[in-house]
């Protein structure tokens, strides 16, 4: 056997448990920072002619009364300034004050979302995520109907999925706390795309397990699962790589405007590939053999194995 993946399942599962735990703690402690699309407010992107210091700009905004303004630098002299909802007059006054202090500036982009629209958007995004969850569940029920134990397969795929979502959310909670990253509609879009990707990956592997079981590859379920993983490994990694290539290209060349989206995909695709191989499939064995103890205490499990 080239790779023994399933044999290291305890290790993989423990790693994932730790990662998930960190993610959940980050989510509970920091929470996610909603962007203006979900919480209302204004976002102004200005480009100064001269170089402007980040902290000076921050100080100036505080002086102007925007104590909660969030500033994000883009490139050398462009800044994204996030404030509560600005009226036309507020914005003109703000721009005048900034150009008086830092020299002339041009307004590159401006978004303003009212509380009504923000509430509506958050509400509908929540519905979309709920529908997506139901849709994916239905799909899983359908896709795994031919599997020997559809319920086991479905639950394991969903656990892998939840893993990926928690990883993405956890990372954004941490980035939110450190870098003030906010979640917006493109973030939700990215998460849904990741969900689709992660399920794809798991389906391909499970499909192979089913095929190998039918062929009677081995009486040992673990051997079948491991062989199936090895057989599908290059497909999983190659598809992950080609997708990462384009995501990285988006991240490096397009940058700030779809940064959230690209980072969600980047993290989600890596996590999705990992979880399909190292969580979903090994969990099948854990379930088959009733080794749930392995998920909790590594030493005890080892002892049992010996």
């Amino acid at each position: 056997m080239m790779f023994d993946i399933t044999g290291k399942r305890s290790l993989f599962l423990i790693i994932s448990e730790v990662v998930i735990l960190i993610g959940i703690i980050a989510l509970v402690v920091f929470g996610l920072k909603p962007g203006i699309e979900f919480s209302s407010g204004s976002m102004l992107t200005v480009s100064f002619e001269q170089e402007v210091d980040h902290s000076e700009l921050e100080q100036e905004l505080v002086n102007l009364g925007y104590t909660n303004a969030i500033i994000q630098g883009i490139g050398e002299s462009d800044f994204l300034i996030r404030t509560p909802e600005l009226s036309g007059e507020d914005k003109a006054a703000l721009e005048d004050a900034l150009s008086a202090r830092f020299g002339s500036l041009s307004e590159r982009e401006f978004h303003s979302v009212s509380p009504m629209v923000a509430t509506e958007t958050a509400h509908n995004a929540a519905i979309a995520v709920a529908i997506a969850a139901v849709g994916i569940l239905l799909y899983i029920t359908w896709a795994f109907r031919r599997m020997p134990r559809p319920f086991h397969y479905g639950v394991c795929a969903i656990i892998a999925l939840v893993h990926d979502v928690v990883v993405v959310l956890g990372i954004f909670a941490i980035f939110g706390a450190i870098l003030n990253w906010e979640i917006n509609l493109m973030f939700i879009t990215g998460v849904l795309a990741v969900i689709g990707y992660s399920i794809n990956d798991t389906v391909v592997i499970f499909d192979r397990i089913r095929e190998n079981l039918k062929r009677g590859m081995s009486a040992d379920f673990e051997v079948v699962v491991n062989n199936s993983l090895v057989e599908t490994m290059s497909r999983s990694l190659n598809t992950c790589l080609t997708t990462l290539f384009v995501v990285l290209a988006l991240l490096f060349f397009v940058g700030a405007s779809i940064q959230n989206f690209a980072v969600v995909l980047l993290v989600g695709i890596v996590s999705g590939t990992y979880s399909s191989i190292c969580i979903a499939a090994p969990l099948l064995i854990v379930w088959e053999r009733g080794e749930w103890g392995r998920l909790v205490f590594l030493p005890q499990a080892k002892a049992k194995e010996a």
């Binding site: 794809n200 057989e231 384009v246």
Partner: protein, 519 residues
């Protein structure tokens, strides 16, 4: 088999040629990719309508219609290309102005109450109408009717691009610091020589009551579409009602205009009362009575649509726009930023494509080359579909397309991996190709279903919210991308691969896989 394959190859090449042509040349009236606001720059506004609590459904619908027509008219004058002004749901209005990047100007354009005023034609000493040409005859510019010192608006009738006649305001003549000058709508001076082609434009002066009070929209109480039932066939007309001050002034003006000469069948400028909204002549009905006592009708050869539009425009000059301020949603992207986005996303797409192709060629060798060809075909076909449908491309939409390039090869990867396994069991190239494709098919189909589900849900989400463009754009481009990728991977790559069956290359297995595993 070989024959069928040749046929398929011809179809594929033809399709490719078609896609490339569609991209390069205007086809079916589609000259350019349709780009979203974030890529060309512009302003996007969404307003909530503002009606009194007790407004009936009918009043609300009428108010929405009035707001839409008024905004359309105003934006028309600014020459914005392909503006979008539409109703969202029951009580919202979306305004998209591509290329118009002054968001404050855009907002005031939409929100302001129109300036409605009534004018009459200027007459010279012989009681004849004055034209712009008459002013060119003067040695020194001065008002021909010296009693009226308000500005003049010169209006000419032109045939517009759609072949309809319309009134066009060509210039103003106004007294500024004692000098009389020709100006444009913003008050900037115009050189008289630039106006020579408009010598036939009529000169309109402010219509005033006996005490000099101008007749303006403030004095208008209501305007609505109605039907003249006096004849055999009901004729659409616009009814207007004045408030108490307005009815006095209007009657004073009518008493002055009505006695002027009347050529039954021809338009008499002397007797016309010009209705101007924001300096544009809407209509110039002739006054046909001495006394109106606060009510009047505007008749003419009108359709029902024209009548309701005119009534709405009249009202927009009398009532504030029924819109809540500030807008529910505002977005502005500068044109330079939009251009940067196109540049950057194009770069990302090309680099991504090249990386994927390099990887496929290095890892899968000959099949990788074929998959890369299929990928080029894929990109051309998808872009052609975007252009022809047309799909409005936004930054997120391009992101979806670029992502689909990475995912498009997944089907190929699935197939090639299968082929490698088949090779390993000692099959020939032909058998390996067929087995590879057949056995990978269920996995390809099943695995794309989730992406489709997600796309449909995202599309719904996009359509249900105000800031819809990014999410919808992404969902649509990814959906089209994945659908086309299934076709290219299954049909195109297979057809190309079959070309090698039976050739001397087929036996060189190293061409088909860098990682031959022998059991």
């Amino acid at each position: 088999m070989a024959r069928k394959n040749t046929l398929l190859l011809i179809i594929i090449l033809a399709l490719f040629a078609f896609a490339v042509c569609a991209l390069i040349y205007p086809l079916f009236d589609r000259k350019e990719m349709r780009l979203g606001l974030d890529l060309i720059g512009g302003v996007h506004l969404v307003y909530q309508a503002d009606f009194p609590e007790d407004a009936t459904g009918e009043e609300r619908a009428a108010g929405m219609e009035r707001a839409l027509i008024t905004i359309e008219k105003r934006i028309d004058k600014y020459g914005v290309t392909e503006p979008i002004i539409q109703q969202l749901g029951e009580d919202r209005i979306l305004v998209q102005l591509p290329g118009f990047t002054d968001i404050d100007a855009a907002k005031s354009l939409v929100e302001q109450t129109g300036f409605l005023e009534f004018r009459e034609v200027e007459l010279n000493e012989e009681e004849q109408p004055v034209y712009l040409g008459d002013y060119f005859q003067q040695d020194e510019l001065q008002f021909i009717n010296e009693q009226e010192t308000g500005n003049r608006v010169f209006v000419i009738d032109v045939v517009n691009a759609e072949g309809e006649r319309e009134h066009k305001t060509v210039a103003f003549l106004a007294k500024d610091n004692g000098d009389i000058k020709f100006t444009d709508a913003s008050g900037n001076p115009i050189d008289a020589t630039a106006l020579e082609e408009y010598a036939d434009a009529l000169s309109w002066i402010i219509a005033r009551g006996d005490d000099g009070t101008p007749l303006t929209g403030d004095l208008l109480a209501d305007a609505y579409a109605s039907l003249d039932q006096s004849g055999v066939v009901p004729i659409p007309q616009v009814s207007i009602e004045w408030d108490s001050e307005g009815s006095v002034i209007f009657d004073q003006i009518a008493a002055r205009l009505y006695p002027r000469p009347d050529n039954e069948n021809y338009f008499d400028p002397e007797r016309a009362l010009g209705i101007f909204l924001d300096n544009t002549l809407l209509s110039a009905p002739e006054v046909n009575a001495q006394k109106f006592e606060g009510r009047g009708v505007i008749t003419g050869n009108f359709t029902r649509e024209e009548v309701s539009e005119l009534a709405n425009l009249l009202k927009s000059g009398a009532l504030p726009m029924p819109l809540k301020k500030p807008p529910l949603y505002e977005e502005k992207v500068s044109a330079t930023l939009g251009a940067d986005f196109i540049d950057m996303s194009l770069k990302a797409g090309i680099i991504g494509l090249i990386l994927v192709m390099l990887f496929m060629i290095i890892y899968y060798r000959l099949p990788g080359v074929l998959a890369s060809l299929a990928l080029v075909f894929y990109a051309a076909l998808v872009l052609a579909i975007f252009k022809l449908i047309p799909v409005t491309l936004t930054l997120a939409g391009i992101g979806g397309f670029v992502l689909s390039i990475g995912m498009a090869v997944d089907a190929n990867v699935l197939i090639f991996e299968r082929m490698k396994e088949e090779f390993a069991t000692g099959r020939t190239l032909g058998a390996a190709i067929e087995a590879g494709f057949n056995r990978a098919w269920t996995a390809i189909r099943d695995s794309n279903v989730t992406t489709f589900i997600v796309c449909v849900i995202l599309y719904w989400l996009g359509s249900s919210i105000v800031a819809s463009a990014p999410v919808m754009g992404f969902a649509l481009t990814l959906f089209i991308g994945v659908a086309v990728s299934m076709f290219t991977a299954i049909v195109v790559t297979r057809t190309l691969l079959r070309l090698f069956v039976g050739t001397s290359l087929a036996s060189k297995t190293s061409l088909f896989s860098a990682h031959q595993e022998r059991k």
